[in-house]
Structure formats: structure tokens, C-alpha cells
Assembly symmetry: C2
Homo-oligomer: 686 residues x 2
């Protein structure tokens, strides 16, 4: 194009060509061409980064949609098989259980054989990475295949295994972003840049959430709340852009595929709009939030304990170490047997898919009122028009089934989280919360059949609204986030319950956050990943703690005038990755840091200088051993809060402490953690 323009402009100087004569108004045309050129430059200047974000969003949407499509086919095949296999109980049982058992064990075996990182949701690991810890190979593109294939199998097992998609999708999105970033930096030939990578990590996480739920707002907010403790408005904007591209593409595909007429939300509800709830119901919503908070504490505690048990129990840990697919198959068999519809599964609405679970729980009618006088029979086949029939049993009524569902799913979910397969744990928690809300909502609807405020027009209670609030509150409490409230609105396409849902989520969070670490933090603790705790409570007294009180004073420094024997002794006797380099043994003025490996290399390369004449470290450094400059240093008077902020914002691992230029100590996560824990559990007074 550039060349072409050049040719033409060149030709205007040369004898007038036929083409030049032909076209009218050469000046206008040149002006238009110039304008287009300017626009092109302008767009490309803004672009670059934005194109990258758009690509990421569109790619993730394609993957998400394709995966959904494939899963839909597999699930349909399973349903068909189960329906057509005849009335023999054994055959039916086998057709119900073999499918998920095979899928889950394949998922576990396949993904674990490629990479051990592919199990679980991946969010805890990403959270750790965002604080600056480098987990080698965790974002390698070769994990991608393992995760995609494994996740597809997991999800194809459907509501039997009852696992979700969000966590792995966040991981997938970050992997793709990291890969695109590497390609990009290679293409423009620049060196990789750490802070740019971190920016991208947050954005990619938002895209992951947004392409699963088609919810850009809550996607970005949820990923921020879960992933980081500080964030910049700049990242938030970029995240919005990428998430919107992803969500749009994801929904567009389903319109093109004639699943929908236009772009709408994923779990559309039909709540009454004019008076969605009577004012006094706010109280019940808050109470529901509190209940969800308490249940979430129990869930988090049991989940963490059981995860710990699985790690420490000899039998299970041996099984997991030697044959993960077997463990997965056993767990899947238990889960599938329980959910076998003609058996116990009948009381668990186990014929519903996870989407149908949500759709039915968000139903705007009250089942309790509808079944008060008439009792529908338990249908032999799933009735897509009346999904809620699945929740009803003539003897147990809907309260019995809902309560049984909650009790059973509580431990089944905990069991499912221990299976080493790629799977998300958000969606099951969301549905579980919806179940809690529905149960309470139905109870209220039965208690107040005319609505709470009696008057001319009665507004009966909608249990669906409680299910919505319960879903948001429980998932918010388990993950320690508030944006689940927004997610509930984006998922359902209605925002009429804005304040009650938000208040329920706040109540649930208040309880959960003060009693238990979040689901992701809990996993970080159990998996023993490094993390930096918050300074909770923000008591005034915490502002008085300064670095001097908690820094590590026992640092190893290398003086420039130290003899090489001394250097060799230090290097061999300690195993730090970096040493502080000081000007001289006497002055101890900090110059920079020297990597251990470089030192060892330099020492090996110069065996000749080991002869007497006392060569010192300075000679070694002059010989090519690189010194890294210290870009930031603390003083003993820096406050704990300032230091903590610095570590969080700049993703630091450790910082030197200098006083009058002299290296007097260092602060790393270890010291910070100790200082923070001694704030909450103050040591005995001295």
C-alpha cells in the first residue's frame, strides 16, 4: 500500500499518465488519501495493545462456544442412550454411571499425563503469580491442550459430577494471553517486560470469566476481587474492553447458531417488575445472606479439612500418587451411583443439567403454593416446559427434596473438589446457594401466601428472588467477593432485586470473611503456595509498627574488598539466590546485588587468581560478574503499611533496608507475614 502510494505520487511528477488524467479532482483525491493515511496511523497508534486484547477476547469466546457445543452433543448422546436402553435397571444403571466414570477418569489420566498443573481451577495459582511469585511452566502453552481436553470431559459428565467451568477458563485465558504476549514481543523484537505481563494477567482473567458467563461487568470485577488486592483503573478499562469483546462474540455465536433470536442473558428470568418484593422482605433477604454466610463457613471449613485429610491419609495419598485415574473413577462412581435417577437421584433432581438446575431454581412461581392443593406425578421423562416437576416428590414435597439436595450436595461437592481433574468450583457453589435461597423462599411463600403487606393488590412472595439472592450470597461468601451480586443480575438479565441481593451478599461476606479464608485462599494454604496476608482490621496501632521492628537483621553481605577465599566460603556456606554487595567491609554501604550463580561462574572461571596476592571481590566484578542495581530500598523507619503496600503494588519478593546508606537488614514476605500475624495475635507484652 505504502509502495503503491509512493508510485502514484512519483508519477505525478513525471509526465501526466493516463490514469492521472482520467480521475477527476486529483487534489481532492490526494486530500482524501492523506486523510485515510492519517486515520490509519491514528488507529494503529491507539491500536496495537487493543488489537491484542480484542484477539484474546474473540479467541476465548470461540473456545468457550466450541466447548459448549461439543459438550452439548456428548450430553445429548448420553441422554439418548439412557432413554433408549430399555427398562432393565442394571442396563440403565450402567448406562448412567459408566459414562461419567469413563469421562472423568479419562480427563484425569489425560490431563495429568501431560502436565500436573492442569488439575483444579487454577485460580489459586494465578493469584499467587499475580503477587509476583514465578511458577515455572504454569502458563506454558502445552498445558493448554491438557486443560481443554480435560475440562471438556469433566463438563461432559454433566450434573452427575456437578463441576463448573470458570476457574479453568481463567487459566486458559491467561495461558493464551501469555502465549500471545510472547509472540507479540518476539514479533516486534523487544525484550519481555514483567510489569506488562502482570497487566495482561488481570485482563486475561477478566476475559476468562466474561466468556463463560457472557457478563463483562461482573467478569472484570470478580477477577479483580479474587485475584488482587490493589488494581489500577488502567487495567480495569483494558479488562472491560477485552471482556466486552469476548462476551459479545460468545453471545453472537449462539445467535448465529440460531439458538437465540438476539443477544440476551444466559439464564433469563421473568420476575414481576412492578413490585418485585414487599419492603419487609428486605429483612428476610438479609437473614438469608446471614444463613448463606454461616453455611459457607461450614463448607469452607469442611472442604479445607477434607483436602488436608486427602493429602495426609496414607491410603488415599498413595492412591493419588500412583493412580490418579483410579481415584477419579472411584469418586465418579460414588457420585454417579447416588445421582442415579430411579434411585436416590430422584430426590436430587439429578436428571436436570446444571443450566436447568439454575433455570428451574430461578423460576418465578412458587412451587409450594402450586403443589399445596394438587400434586403432579413424578414424570417418567424430563419435561422441558416444567423443569420444576423434578424438584417435587409427592411424599417428601419440594421442601424435602430441596433439603435433601442441599445436604447431599454439600459433601458430594467436597468430594468432587478432590478429584484431580481440570474443573471449576464456582458454578456448583452458585447453584448450591440458589438451592438454599429457594428453600427459604418457598418456606416464606407458604408462610405468607398472600404476600407480606396485605392490601388491595397482594404481591405474593417470589421464591425465585430468594434463589437469586442465595446464589449470589453463597458464592460471594465462599469466594469472598461482592461482585457475585452483579453477576446474578447480568446472568438473569433483570436487576429488580438490586438492593436486597446486595444486602444479602454483604451480610454473607461479613460472616464468611471474619471466620474463614476464602475458597481460593484456603486452597493456597492447603497447597502451601506462597502468599502475602492482608493487614486486617486496619487498627490504628498497626500504623505504628515500623520496619525496624520486624526486619531480618541477619543478612549476608559481600564487601567489595573481601578476599576471594571469603567470597567462596560465603557462597558455599549459604544458599541465597542473591547477595547484597557493599562497598567495603568497614563502611557496609549498599552498592547492589550479585546473583549467586554469576558469582559461582566467575569464581570458577578465574582459578588463576586464587594464587596469593590477595585478589578481592572487586577484581572478580571487574572481570565481568554483573552487579544488579538496587532500585528501591526501605529505611528502618518505614511503616509496616507502607512496606506492605510496596510489596503488593510492585509485586516484590524482598527489599533491602538501609540506614545512612549502610545495609542493615532485609524485608521479605517471611518477615512481613510474621509482622502481620503478630498484629492480630500480639505477642506477650515485653
Amino acid at each position: 500500500m505504502e509502495e503503491l502510494v509512493g508510485l502514484r505520487e512519483g508519477s505525478s511528477g513525471s509526465p501526466v499518465s493516463l490514469r492521472e488524467l482520467w480521475g477527476p479532482c486529483p487534489r481532492v483525491r490526494r486530500a482524501i488519501r492523506g486523510g485515510l493515511e492519517w486515520l490509519k496511523q491514528k488507529v494503529f497508534r491507539v491500536g496495537e495493545d487493543w488489537y491484542f486484547l480484542m484477539t484474546l477476547g474473540v479467541l476465548m469466546a470461540l473456545i468457550s462456544y466450541t466447548m459448549n457445543f461439543a459438550i452439548g452433543r456428548v450430553v445429548r448422546a448420553h441422554k439418548w442412550l439412557y432413554r433408549e436402553i430399555g427398562d432393565s435397571h442394571l442396563l440403565r444403571y450402567l448406562s448412567w454411571t459408566v459414562y461419567p466414570v469413563a469421562l472423568v477418569s479419562f480427563s484425569s489420566g489425560f490431563s495429568q499425563s501431560i502436565t500436573p498443573f492442569s488439575g483444579g481451577s487454577g485460580i489459586p495459582e494465578l493469584k499467587t503469580m499475580l503477587t509476583g511469585v514465578v511458577l515455572e511452566d504454569y502458563l506454558d502453552i502445552k498445558n493448554f491442550g491438557a486443560k481443554v481436553a480435560g475440562l471438556t470431559c469433566t463438563l461432559a459428565a454433566g450434573s452427575t459430577i456437578f463441576l463448573g467451568k470458570v476457574g479453568p477458563f481463567v487459566h486458559l485465558s491467561v495461558m493464551i494471553a501469555a502465549y500471545l504476549g510472547r509472540v507479540h514481543t518476539k514479533a516486534i523484537g523487544e525484550s519481555e517486560n514483567k510489569s506488562k505481563q502482570n497487566e495482561m494477567l488481570v485482563v486475561a482473567a477478566a476475559v476468562g470469566v466474561a466468556t463463560v458467563f457472557a457478563a463483562p461487568f461482573s467478569g472484570i470485577l470478580f477477577s479483580i476481587e479474587v485475584m488482587s488486592s490493589h488494581f489500577s483503573v488502567w487495567d480495569y478499562w483494558r479488562g472491560f474492553f477485552a471482556a466486552t469483546c469476548g462476551a459479545f462474540m460468545f453471545r453472537l455465536l449462539s445467535v448465529f447458531n440460531s439458538e437465540q433470536e438476539t443477544i440476551t442473558s444466559l439464564y433469563k428470568t421473568n420476575f414481576r417488575v412492578d413490585v418485585p418484593f414487599d419492603l419487609p422482605e428486605i429483612f428476610f433477604f438479609v437473614a438469608l445472606g446471614a444463613i448463606c454466610g454461616i453455611v459457607s463457613c461450614a463448607y469452607l471449613f469442611c472442604q479445607r479439612t477434607f483436602l488436608g485429610f486427602v493429602k495426609t491419609n496414607q491410603l488415599i495419598s498413595k492412591l493419588l500418587a500412583t493412580s490418579k485415574p483410579l481415584y477419579a473413577a472411584l469418586a465418579a462412581l460414588i457420585l454417579a451411583s447416588i445421582t442415579y435417577p430411579p434411585g436416590v437421584g430422584r430426590f436430587l433432581a439429578s436428571r436436570l443439567s446444571m443450566k436447568q438446575h439454575l433455570d428451574s431454581l430461578f423460576d418465578n412461581h412458587s412451587w409450594a403454593l402450586m403443589t399445596r392443593n394438587s400434586s403432579p406425578p413424578w414424570p417418567k421423562e424430563l419435561d422441558p416446559q416444567n423443569l420444576w416437576f423434578e424438584w417435587y416428590h409427592p411424599r417428601f414435597t419440594i421442601f424435602g427434596t430441596l433439603a435433601f439436595f442441599l445436604v447431599m450436595k454439600f459433601w458430594m461437592l467436597i468430594l468432587a473438589t478432590t478429584i484431580p481433574i481440570p474443573a471449576g468450583y464456582f458454578m456448583p457453589i452458585f447453584i448450591f446457594g440458589a438451592g438454599i435461597g429457594r428453600l427459604i423462599g418457598e418456606a416464606l411463600a407458604l408462610a405468607f401466601p398472600e404476600g407480606i403487606v396485605a392490601g388491595g393488590v397482594t404481591n405474593p412472595i417470589m421464591p425465585g428472588g430468594y434463589a437469586l439472592a442465595g446464589a449470589a450470597a453463597f458464592s460471594g461468601a465462599v469466594t469472598h467477593t461482592i461482585s457475585t451480586a452483579l453477576l446474578a443480575f447480568e446472568l438473569t438479565g433483570q436487576i429488580v432485586h438490586a438492593l436486597p441481593v446486595l444486602m444479602a451478599v454483604l451480610a454473607a461476606n461479613a460472616i464468611a470473611q471474619s471466620c474463614q479464608p476464602s475458597f481460593y485462599d484456603g486452597t493456597i494454604i492447603v497447597k502451601k503456595l506462597p502468599y502475602l496476608p492482608w493487614i486486617r482490621g486496619r487498627k490504628i496501632s498497626s500504623h505504628r509498627v515500623i520496619v525496624e521492628h520486624f526486619m531480618n537483621c541477619a543478612i549476608t553481605t559481600l564487601a567489595k574488598d573481601a578476599p576471594l577465599e571469603e567470597v567462596a566460603r560465603v557462597v558455599t556456606s549459604t544458599d541465597l539466590a542473591k547477595y547484597f554487595l557493599v562497598e567495603s567491609t568497614e563502611s557496609q554501604i549498599l552498592v547492589g546485588t550479585v546473583g549467586r550463580e554469576e558469582l559461582v561462574q566467575a569464581l570458577r572461571a578465574e582459578p588463576s587468581s586464587w594464587t596469593p596476592g590477595h585478589p578481592c571481590l572487586r577484581d572478580l566484578l571487574a572481570g565481568g560478574c554483573p552487579i544488579e542495581p538496587v532500585t528501591l530500598q526501605l529505611s528502618p523507619e518505614t511503616s509496616l503499611h507502607q512496606a506492605h503496600n510496596l510489596f503488593e503494588l510492585l509485586k516484590l519478593q524482598s527489599l533491602p533496608v538501609t540506614s545512612l546508606g549502610r545495609a542493615v537488614g532485609s524485608v521479605s514476605w517471611v518477615e512481613l507475614k510474621k509482622a502481620i500475624s503478630s498484629l492480630t495475635n500480639p505477642p506477650a507484652p515485653k
Copy 2:
């Protein structure tokens, strides 16, 4: 209570009292009492801060509601007067104009006489404060009365003056928070703490927005986007809590006052839910966003230019300096004369209040289609059932009135922003955007009367949806925020247009942010408030800039061994607030900073030491002149990004740069600004 419990427990040791015998199961009762005590402690432990936030939210809601109530009465009185005064044009004109003129000039005179800080929205100043600049007295509680009274008058002038409420409410909220904070710290007897104050500032801003719009989600997000460039999830949670309390209380009051049956959104819409828009309409939504972006650039440019003109023009600036109420009255007279309904106001829908403006623009019918065949007469009185009649004129049709409205309001709004009264500028911009959207939506509805996708069931285009998108996009572009999209949903209680509105806002922001500073930044520039620019574009090359390239090397240091004459000479010849104290003239090792005032005081206090014998600075310091420790220092190798992050996150003003402990320079906002501007406009290559 504590005492009472103590007494009782004491009594259990003493001979058994009558009461003790009387009550059954003393052990159970003690256990219950203990449990309650534990709960109390637990709640109070979590509490403290939360109570404070709740108080803030509830107080602001009360103020907001009371103000709305008072304004409603004043406006009703004005309407009554205008209606009852008879048909004489002169009397009607007078009754229409005198009211707002009197209110606005009183607002200006009253508020300015108490404090000059009360004018304008206050958001630019708060934004500056959040970056760490101290604006003396800006948050003093005495401004409160001025702002409340002034704002009430401004808003009572109604849609004639066409100004809003958000900005001043943010300011009010922050004032109250600062006051409560001071009371709180005094009550518990602790020293004030800067970082706690900053936390509170962000939260209070969120409460301000939330209590105006009853929109907690967008309240917190909008205030974060407008106010800061980094924020912590901790502040965001606290903000949510406070904003929810505020929004709940605000809506609760209106239910108690029988204005509504239950808690709903402020500007309820009735958009079609099943197919709110056809897929191809997405394109028009994005185009609308782009148009809003372009118009917003024009608006921002004109607004800034006119504000500059008012400041520099001799006549106007003299008028503003000597008699602000007169200027206010003149401007109000112009605005009121234009909006006089039987005159030009007829084409401006000027009989509608601002709320009615929005309600009518978000109407879900297409006016163009409704007036295509029949033309309703212009009603003599406002018809509350058919507000949109106001927008219709038989000769000009609705397109004429809408276009005229936009053209006139464009400059009227700019004129209104120069009046020195407490007023918000968000709401008028929001309505203006809705007007743009409505105009385009009506045009589309007329162009495609059957809807875009022809088929079995046609879905006619809803211009109300475009009005919603236009409002969000234009206000988002002017303020450089994305959360206006969410605000649009929270205000209307419907979220069916989620993706199209978000895409329109993104398009508008892309254009506005790349061409013009935001409304608030523009005001900061015109008012010459200090600010720290962003590092835009985040080019890779910017990561290579290090502190050494741009630091201020010409620093004034005071050595401990400097003779006092030297110190006195330095203090008198320079006017820095702080001097770097170094160990000795030779070593230049940084020890800390000394305040100029303390130095001067110490120098004055010791005139005896001016006698020969060469006393040096060290003696002065030993004599009680305090040294402030340096808690953080940069190295010449620190990157620009790191330094910028540090300044933003820790709200710093300046930092020393040390190399090997020696003070070699300093970095302050001035240097950072220069470095950032040279990134975007690179200097000629050396």
C-alpha cells in the same frame, strides 16, 4: 453494662441473693450471658469502622432525601405561581424568570460569602486531594452549610438552570466523613492518620454518588474511576457497604413517605424484554457511541475554552471578582428567558423537570411512529401521563425539537457551568446524551418502521434504548468513565441492553480519551490545581526511562558539619519547605530531612551560638531541632514506571534519590510530569 455484669458475678460469690435463687438454671443463664458478651465483643471488634461507614451512609441519605423533599416543595410553588398568575405575558414571563434568577443569585451570594470553596462540583479538588495534595480548609465542616443551602437553591431553580447534584454531594459526603473521622479520633484519643483519611475519602465519594442515584454499584465504581488511578479491594468493599446503607436508606425514606410501594429504581423503564433489540442494531449502538464521543470532544473543548475565556476576559473576570451574584443573576436571566415556555422554551421541552426529561426520553414508544399519521396538539398544561407531548411540535416534528434542544443546551450548559454556585454537572450531561440517543433512535425507528430483521414477529426499534445508550455513552465520554453504563442500568432497573450500551460507552470513551482530557481533568487544568499525569499508551520504550534521566540534580543539602552561617545563608537564600540533611559535606550521606520552619526557629532561639568558635548544624540539631527520617528513597536506576506507581499509590509529593547512600537528587511531581510529557512528545534526538 460491664459494671452490671461485674456486680452480678460478684454477687454469686457472696451469700446467695434472693434474685439468684429465684431465677431457674443459673448455669444456663450464665452461659447465655457469656455468649451474648462474646457476640457483643465480636460485633464491636468487627464494628467500629463499620458503624462509622453506616452512619455516613445513613446521614447522607437523610440529607439527600430532605433536600429532594425541600426542592420538590419549592418547585411545586413555582409551578403553581406560574399557572395561577393569569394570561398576561409579562406577568408570566416575570414569574418564570424572577424565581430562578433570585434563587441562583442567592445561592451564589450566600455560598460565596461563607467560603469561596463552595462553588462548582468539588470533584476536581477532591481528585487533587486524593493524590496527596493538602488543600487547607477544603473539607472544613463550615463549608457544609454553604454548600447545602447553595445547592438546594441551585436545584430548586429546576430545569431552567439545568444543573445537577452529584458533584456537590460527593463533596458534602467527604466533608461529613472528615468531620466524623475527626470526632472519632478525638473520642478514642488517637493521633490523626493520613492513610486512614485517604481510605475514607474514596469511600465517602462513593456514598455521595450512591445516595444521589440510589445506585451502590455504579456509585462505587464511578467514584473510583473519577477519583483515583489505583485502588485497593479493601476500600472497594468498605465503599460497597457504605454505599448500600446510603442507597437503601434513601429509597426507604421514599417508601415511608408513600411515594412508592416498594424499593425500586429511580427512573424505571418498561423496555420490551424478550427481544429488546435486533442483532444488527448493535452496529447502530456502536455508531451512536462514536457520535457521542465526537460530540463530547467538542463539548469538552468548548467548555474548557469558555472557562478560560471567562477567566481571562477583563470585563467578566472583573464582574466575577467584585460581584459574583450579579454575574450569576445575569446568566440565570439569559437561561430563564430562553426557556420561557411560550417563547423558545416551547421547542426545548422546558416545562419538564430534569427527572421528567429523563423519564420521557427513556419512553419505550417511538414518538416518530406515533406522530407519523396523527399530530397531537401542543398541550396548554403539562400532561403527566404523556410527558412526551412536550417534545412534539406540529411544524418542527420531534426531530426539530430534539435537534434544537441539543444545539441550545450545548452552549447553555457551558454557560451554566461558569456560574459560581454549588452545582453538579453530571446529570445535565446525562440528559444531553439521552437526547442525542433519542434523536438517533427516532430516526432509526422512522427508517425501519418494521424493525430491522423482518420475519414472522417484527420487533420495532425502541428509541428509548438508544436514549439509554446515548446517556451512558455521552456522560461516560465526558467524565472518562465506563461505569456510567452500569449506572444507566441501575437507574432504570433494566439490564436488557447490557452489551449494546457497554459497547457504545467503550466506543465513546475510545474517542474522548484519545482526544480530550476529562471534564474533571479539564477543570483541574483550568483551575491550575496540581496533578500527576498518567503514563499513557504504556509503550515499551517508556519502561527504559530511569530516575537518573529526569531527577532534579540541583538539590540543596545541609551537612551536619556545616557552620551555622552557612545554614543561615542557605535558609535565607532558598524557600524550600524541607532540606535534605547529610552526614557531612564530604560524604553527602543522607540522614533525613529538616523542616525549614524548625530550622529558622532553632536559629533564632540560639543567637548566643553565633559567637566565634564555629558552632555547626550538629549543635543546632542536638539542641532540639527535629530530624524527620526518610522512610523511602529512590535509586538512580529506579524506572519511571516504578517511581510513578510509588507516587500514586503512596500519595507522595517528593522523594530523595540516593546512590550509595549519598543524596544525589530528588524527584517530585514536577520532574515526573516533565518525564511523562517528554515520553509522549519526545525531545529532538541528541
